[in-house]
Amino acid sequence: MPVKPVLVFAYGNLSRGDDALGPLMLEAIERQLQRQAQPIELLGDFQLQIEHALDLEQRELVLFIDASMSGASPFGFTELSPAKDNSYTTHAMSPAAVLAVYQAIKKQQPPRCFLLTIRGETFGLGEGLSAAAEQNLAAADRFVYGLLADLSALAWSEFTQ
């Protein structure tokens, strides 16, 4: 099956409070895309890992989506560069480290990659989404709707903060 040129990759745990922001954003995008055919593949996982570097192969543009405890509110949007893993505390990796793994494996620059972080407040097991996170998710949803209207790195880079 041919690889779609644009990848949206959201990660998080639906049962860890605001950590669900990534997967919920992915569900919202899926609903948006049902209304129109798009060259976009949607993928999700609990957390980023080394093998996700292989998901970047043959892509032109990638959007990572994650919850953030300390990022901008209601959301932040930045372009990523490969960086050595600094996500040293768990088995998980940062998106920049995934890009660095891609670069090490493929011996080439990764595709243009951007990170959308949606601000969360609480991340306890079994907790629901906080009220603040719900508002932030709605704001991010509107932002992504505009983002996906123009699938070019040039357009996306103008939105970066």
Partner: protein, 497 residues
């Protein structure tokens, strides 16, 4: 043993060093050391600082939600919880393991082999190979998969692709990368079709070849550093895990076997549904993680290790030829009945990885794997217990439900809990033998983390939001005043404050 270092007598007169959090493990744990004025270690502890509340998360939910719900307990071993819960709720619908349809049983085993393969690959290549290839006290900049990919590109790439293959097995069997509904009460939700089977078959010989190479690599690393590898963090302990009825290595279903440090049998072919009769859990005030022990041996002597080292030690044979040959060499190297080296966890782990790859090939060639008879039914029961060998060791799920099918009681013993005492003992051994009396530096403290990482502990679940968990190393004087502090920020920058 080093239990005398669990609690120092004159704690208020000692310096305190904290490694918080321990890196490259799942979840949040920390190590505290208390030192006297000569930097001699007087107390060493591995703490678990997050209370997980698994049971409260599960109670009050209908039982049929459990196989999906429990996957969210942990982002690194969701399939292990999925399958343990499925085995437990099989019993709730009156289906015993022997009555599970043959194809469902084999699909679950295929799913499990995929899970163990990808988990072991992740642990060895991503989390531990930097220590093993570059040295325990190497520059911190070297201790990452990126450095491995740069200096050992073939090894690094094998790790990435082995991990990817295991994830693909999970995706093909359960239908999704995450939150899949592969296993359901009494069987499986989805058959494997020919295209999916052939897709997995296409790469399996390569995976087996890489498995063989991985075992050769760890054997070479381990044996090149004897006797250091056989002594570092090493403990003479009891071991527990599942085995087949004839004593073979078993990861999905079997009876409990426990052996002592000399290889003598403590229990064998024990029905895991009666685990409460033989295992108790002790609580200590300074950590949220309990200390399980074998009741018959008591708290002091009854603690045990689980996981790859326990399984390969305990079994009489491995049912696939290449892994069995590797097991024979593994046991021969120690020249005694049981291998006690904590660093040998890595070796045993890769023997199991090879066994998983071989077993996946066998199952993919088995006609039953594409069978369509996938669900059995029986009479409702009110209690179910499921036990599997998760990558990190024996995992217990125990549920009770009411007449409305709502879970009223849940008890989980996760693998890492069983290794709690052993991890603490290993920390104390390393602290006493390698750190005591020396000026503490970050590379030196990495020795503690190397000992913990050998167990591949899963200390928590999958909260991983950006910006969380900086690492701090604090040095306090005898009056508790801060003398020195190193902080590693989320962007990797290390700052002395």
């Amino acid at each position: 043993m080093y239990e005398h270092l669990e609690t120092a007598e004159n704690r208020d007169q000692l310096k305190r060093v904290v490694v918080d959090p321990v890196s490259r493990v799942e979840g949040h744990g920390k190590v505290t050391l208390l030192l006297d004025e000569h930097n001699k270690v007087q107390q060493a502890r591995l703490h678990i600082v997050e209370f997980r509340g698994f049971e409260r998360f599960i109670q009050g939910r209908p039982y049929w939600e459990l196989p999906v719900l429990v996957q969210r307990l942990c982002g690194i071993c969701p399939v292990s919880h999925h399958l343990a819960a499925a085995k437990a709720i099989d019993q709730l619908v009156g289906v015993d393991p022997a009555n599970l349809p043959v194809s469902a049983d084999k699909l679950r085993r295929l799913l499990h082999f995929g899970q163990v393969l990808q988990s072991h690959a992740l642990h060895f290549f991503h989390l531990s190979s930097p220590d093993l290839l570059f040295g325990f006290e190497s520059d911190i900049g070297k201790r990452s998969i990126i450095a491995v990919l740069a200096d050992y590109p073939d090894i690094g790439l094998q790790g990435v692709k082995l991990r990817k293959y295991g994830q693909e097995v999970i995706r093909m069997v359960s239908g999704k990368r995450v939150h899949g509904t592969g296993a359901i009460a009494g069987g499986m939700n989805k058959a494997l079709d020919k295209a999916e089977r052939d897709y997995l078959l296409a790469d399996i010989d390569q995976m087996i070849a890489w498995g063989v190479a991985s075992v050769a690599l760890i054997q070479k690393v381990h044996c090149a550093n004897l006797p250091y590898y056989d002594q570092f963090a090493t403990l003479r302990t009891n071991y527990m895990g599942l085995t087949k009825p004839d004593g073979g290595l078993e990861l999905y279903h079997g009876g409990l076997r426990a052996k002592n440090a000399e290889g003598g049998t403590i229990l064998d072919h024990f029905d895991y549904c009666r685990y409460n009769d033989i295992i108790h859990e002790e609580v200590r005030s300074w950590t949220y993680m309990k200390f399980p022990y074998l009741l018959a041996l008591g708290q002091e002597n009854g603690w045990y290790r689980v996981g790859p080292l326990a399984r390969v030690n305990n079994c009489d044979y491995i049912g696939t030829p290449l892994a069995e040959a590797a097991r024979v060499e593994f046991k021969a190297h120690a020249n005694e009945a049981m291998v006690h080296s904590t660093l040998a966890f890595h070796w045993a782990r890769l023997i199991e990885l090879l066994h998983c790859a071989e077993s996946i090939k066998v199952l993919l060639h088995d006609p039953d794997i594409m069978g369509k008879d996938l669900v059995a039914q029986g009479e409702k029961r009110y209690e179910g217990i499921g036990v599997i060998e998760a990558p990190r060791g024996t995992l217990f799920h125990h549920y009770q439900i009411d007449e409305n099918d709502i879970v009223t009681k849940a008890n989980l013993i996760v693998s890492t809990t069983s290794n709690n005492m052993a991890m603490n003992e290993s920390v104390r051994q390393v602290a006493a033998e390698y750190l005591s009396g020396r000026e503490l530096t970050e590379p030196l403290l990495n020795n503690l983390e190397v000992a913990i990482r050998a167990y591949d502990p899963c200390l928590s679940c999958a909260t991983h939001a950006v910006g969380k968990m900086p690492l701090q190393l604090e040095l306090l004087d005898v009056e508790g005043r801060l003398i020195d502090k190193l902080v590693k920020h989320g962007d990797g920058l290390i700052e002395r404050i």
